[in-house]
């Protein structure tokens, strides 16, 4: 029986085949997966916010796209992944509640998605699949045996990206 590793909000986990890393109930948050198909090593990061510019030094860095990704990247590389082979998939970034005059913070989902793409680009990691936006929650998991990133929803079914 393969391991199921759970990632909470503002956290990340790394591992290798045959484990699967899963994060439940993403709304405006984003699940960023990294995967090296050759060594079958990867990780999953569950970020809440786009950037840490207003963060306090005591804040948990895994909460933010810009500080969380480098942390996970370091651990994935330490497990034997190669940066040139790493590919990323991202999912989440929904707007759960429709307000008429949505403030910036209400649109945090789309800002998270943008920030995730920006930091991946800055690190030179290619995004090969994406399922972001919408108004519904997602549970995401990455199978480290295959690199398949599964996105489950309540109403919109389940897909593999």
């Amino acid at each position: 029986m393969a391991d199921l590793i759970r990632v909470g909000m503002a956290d990340y986990k790394v591992g290798s085949a045959p484990s699967t890393i899963i994060s439940y109930g993403l709304g405006s948050c984003i699940g960023i997966s990294l995967y090296d198909p050759q060594t079958k090593v990867g990780g999953l990061l569950h970020i809440m916010l786009p950037d840490s510019t207003q963060a306090r030094p005591t804040d948990n860095p895994a909460k933010f796209a810009d500080t969380g990704l480098p942390l996970m990247l370091k651990d994935v590389l330490a497990l034997g992944a190669s940066k040139t082979r790493l590919v990323a998939k991202i999912a989440g970034g929904a707007q759960m509640f429709a307000f008429q005059n949505a403030t910036d913070i209400m649109r945090v989902g789309s800002r998270n998605a943008e920030a995730a793409k920006k930091i991946l680009k800055a690190q030179g990691i290619k995004i090969i699949a994406e399922d972001t936006g919408g108004t519904y929650g997602r549970t995401v998991s990455i199978d480290l045996n295959t690199g398949v990133y599964k996105v489950k929803t309540i109403d919109k079914g389940e897909k593999e990206i």
């Binding site: 909470g8 909000m9 503002a10 956290d11 439940y24 109930g25 993403l26 709304g27 405006s28 948050c29 809440m48 916010l49 207003q54 306090r56 005591t58 804040d59 948990n60 909460k63 929904a94 759960m96 509640f97 429709a98 307000f99 008429q100 913070i105 209400m106 945090v108 108004t135 519904y136 929650g137 997602r138 549970t139 309540i154």
Partner: protein
């Protein structure tokens, strides 16, 4: 500031008492609307790490109906009323005078009725809050979504996350006498609001 979030036992007691009266008002209002007795538990007041909050509502992938209101005023806060899906359907049946078990999805009217319940609960709650603290708090128009609990909480927690890693959660559970309806009412003050509220309560 994160470090200021250390509350004394007395302060937690005071917040619990406010929560108690607020929720009591809300329970009474709800029971009048649906003409059934509504019981509530003693509110839980706790400072919890953000990532633990979804576990308070049955896990992040439990399907719930969430009614969210942003609270404006001197102590900006968030209100989230969460009902397990089954409970929300039961409440809709009750409100619409349908036999129980008939509702199994939410149409526009159902959503509107549930949002009105959110309005009524929040209004009653915030009135009590005002009595204690003399802080006027105005709720926004409610928004409703049915989805995974974790996904709905993300929205509230992202606002707090900007400021710190912990949430002050004042949580009350409602239960109707026939057990058909249970729900959790969360008042989550913005980090800066907490200080305002504590000062207004006047407890060391």
């Amino acid at each position: 500031m994160t470090e200021e979030l250390n509350l004394s036992a007395n302060q937690l007691d005071a917040l619990r008492e406010i929560g108690n009266v607020g929720a009591g008002n809300s329970a009474t209002a709800l029971s009048q609307v649906i003409n059934r007795r509504i019981d509530m538990n003693v509110p839980k007041v706790a400072l919890v790490p953000l990532e633990v909050v979804p576990d308070l509502v049955g896990g992040p992938d439990a399907v719930v109906v969430g009614i969210f209101l942003r609270v404006y005023g001197k102590a900006p806060s968030n209100i989230l009323f969460l009902l397990p899906q089954k409970s929300a359907f039961y409440l809709v049946d009750t409100l619409m005078g349908k036999p129980h078990g008939q509702t199994n999805s939410l149409d526009f009217m159902d959503e509107s009725a549930l949002m009105e319940i959110g309005n009524i609960l929040s209004g009653a709650y915030l009135n009590a809050f005002f009595t204690f603290t003399k802080i006027t708090m105005l709720p926004s128009i409610p928004a409703l979504a049915m989805d995974m609990a974790g996904a709905l909480l993300n929205v509230v927690l992202a606002q707090l996350g900007q400021m710190g890693d912990q949430a002050l959660v004042i949580e009350t559970e409602f239960l109707s006498e026939d057990d058909g309806i249970n729900g959790q009412f969360f008042l989550v003050p913005d980090p800066g609001s907490l200080e305002t509220i504590i000062k207004a309560v006047g407890v060391e």
